[in-house]
Assembly symmetry: C2
Homo-oligomer: 206 residues x 2
Amino acid sequence: MPRSQTTKKPTRIQREKTQAILEAALDVFSDFGFRGSTIDMIAARAGLSKPNILYYFDNKEAIHKTLLAELLQTWLDPLHQIDEAGDPIEEICGYVAQKLKMAREFPRESKLFANEILQGAPHILPEIEGELKELTSLKAKVVKSWITAGKLADIDPYHLFFSIWATTQHYADFDIQVRSVLGDGSDPFDTAGPFLDKMYRTMLRP
Amino acid sequence: MPRSQTTKKPTRIQREKTQAILEAALDVFSDFGFRGSTIDMIAARAGLSKPNILYYFDNKEAIHKTLLAELLQTWLDPLHQIDEAGDPIEEICGYVAQKLKMAREFPRESKLFANEILQGAPHILPEIEGELKELTSLKAKVVKSWITAGKLADIDPYHLFFSIWATTQHYADFDIQVRSVLGDGSDPFDTAGPFLDKMYRTMLRP
DNA sequence: ATATTTTTTGACTATATGGTCAAGTATTGT
DNA sequence: ACAATACTTGACCATATAGTCAAAAAATAT
């Protein structure tokens, strides 16, 4: 029985099935949120039976938690990469570009995160209050030091990060609104990048 | 039987109970989304029984639709108020301030909207593709004319609106993340206003 | 080829959920 | 005061949902 298996090397079938389940679950959870999704939906999307899903994962929440854990492993990468030794405006604008790229390439992950936050972050609040807060605090200090050195405009580092998160994740989370309002079938990300780059460069110039 | 009543003048009890139900439903739907909420939750929050809820509204979806309809009545007000005859930067920054004020005063409505959009806007897509799209198109033309007249920096009006929506609604929708990251118990809206004002003024300066 | 282990799933259980109903209570109208 | 209407809800129903189980099928090891 492979559920909660932690010691044996996973079999070929286990590797394949858990990936298929997680892939299907990401689709479903990103659209409907944790509470709004059912194991039957995930099973249907994965092309498996419900008991088969539960053969690989203890329960619905275990699937969700696995997805969130995977998400959190890479969610903070771009923020980690801000380099105090780098050029401030290039570092920040590079961060913006990275975040937008993540929104573009991993829209379901972004929506998974948004759904989780909207419901009060019941499953990831420790990580929000821990790793994210500490990392953001660390990078805010870096930004502050750049400002003090006269290399950046005098702005609030925390709100800078909030705005960057908002303006990049928005293209994934509010995708249907963005595309509907544009209405011309164009890919919003094509023009979002230059727009955001310009906005932040202009604002950050000391 | 007052359900679906459209002609008689509502009684005192009807007015009181429908308001109590909608107030409770807004709490629940904004936290859990439509699919993640139950009539029992709404009933508990309203201090009523489930059959009593269903005495006033046909079904769960009717409650949700009523809330969305109420939301949409005021959601676009700030955008309507952008005046082509006004000072461009003041008009845009006034709009930003209005949107932030709405996020601050009506966070549950903002989250209701976000939940709806995240799930593909199943109930309000007609309004998104209709009124919102047309109004945004109209105001984008206004912004375009200001740019052409040399009164605003040359930026993409649509992405300007997307950014304004993102950076203002973020404080309501991602409230728990914002407050956790700040971690000092301060009200993020206090410092968000000046930050956003400065960011947009700087960026919009021609 | 056979034994062992893993995987699969139809049938099932317990609980949750949306919604109904009839009868009692409360409110309103006369 | 009484009649009529509105309101309330415990009990209930039908379906949905999370999850279990035992047996059969498939895969793997020998």
